[in-house]
Symmetry: C2
Subunit: 102 residues, 2 copies
DNA sequence: CGCTGGTATCAGCGAGCGATGATGTGACAG
DNA sequence: CTGTCACATCATCGCTCGCTGATACCAGCG
């Protein structure tokens, strides 16, 4: 099976702010307040993006009192990495599979 | 610096049609006519998306008579793969780096 | 040269998405 | 119980982006 990467996950990562969130979360587990400080975005805005990331299956939430911590799901990122590796490997051999001009 | 993935490349892959184009190109080198047949999209539309992919540095063009062949650049995909692998590895250790509740 | 076919570019329209403000909910402190 | 704080949801506005049709460009063929 030729690894069709999940479009939703990639779309979620396509937004610059969400990408920043992901890189921040890759370093430490944070709650919304921290993310607001780090990114400078409004809380509402952040919450919206977190919802997208949650629905894309990229992050997990962990309540801690009134705070909610967000944690990246490494499996998803690892899966992406593998799928892109497959694509790259396939692309290397594709250079010879040139379909004839019609 | 912790591998900030190039947003442009990811955005380019975020579109479903472009993702389909990329998976097709991962299998064989094709020209626009083939892509029009395979995807069912209009030629103009395809040409637009190819421009995006070209500017994102994902594909190379190779003229062949009046046809233009598109070829994936495996290095870019491999780079993406590696960056996501880094993110995944970093995310695995991030679960312990929990910043204190403010 | 003129014609045909393969591609790229341009202009315009419409849908989707991100940003924002107002509001709701649930947990802790006093 | 009341107030406050952390966070989510909703509704709305504005802009970006993808799609389409018209058109221009270039290569080969007769």
């Amino acid at each position: 099976m030729l690894t069709s990467v999940d479009p939703d996950v990639i779309r979620a990562l396509g937004d610059p702010l969400r990408l920043k969130i992901v890189t921040l979360l890759a370093r430490e587990t944070l709650c919304t307040t921290h993310l607001v400080e780090e990114t400078g975005a409004k809380q509402t805005n952040l919450s919206n993006h977190m919802k997208v990331l949650r629905e894309a299956g990229l992050v997990e939430t962990e309540p801690c009192g009134r705070f909610i911590y967000y944690r990246l799901k490494p499996e998803v990122l690892a899966g992406l990495s593998e799928q892109f590796a497959d694509l790259a490997a396939s692309a290397r051999t594709a250079a010879e599979n040139k379909r004839a001009c019609p």
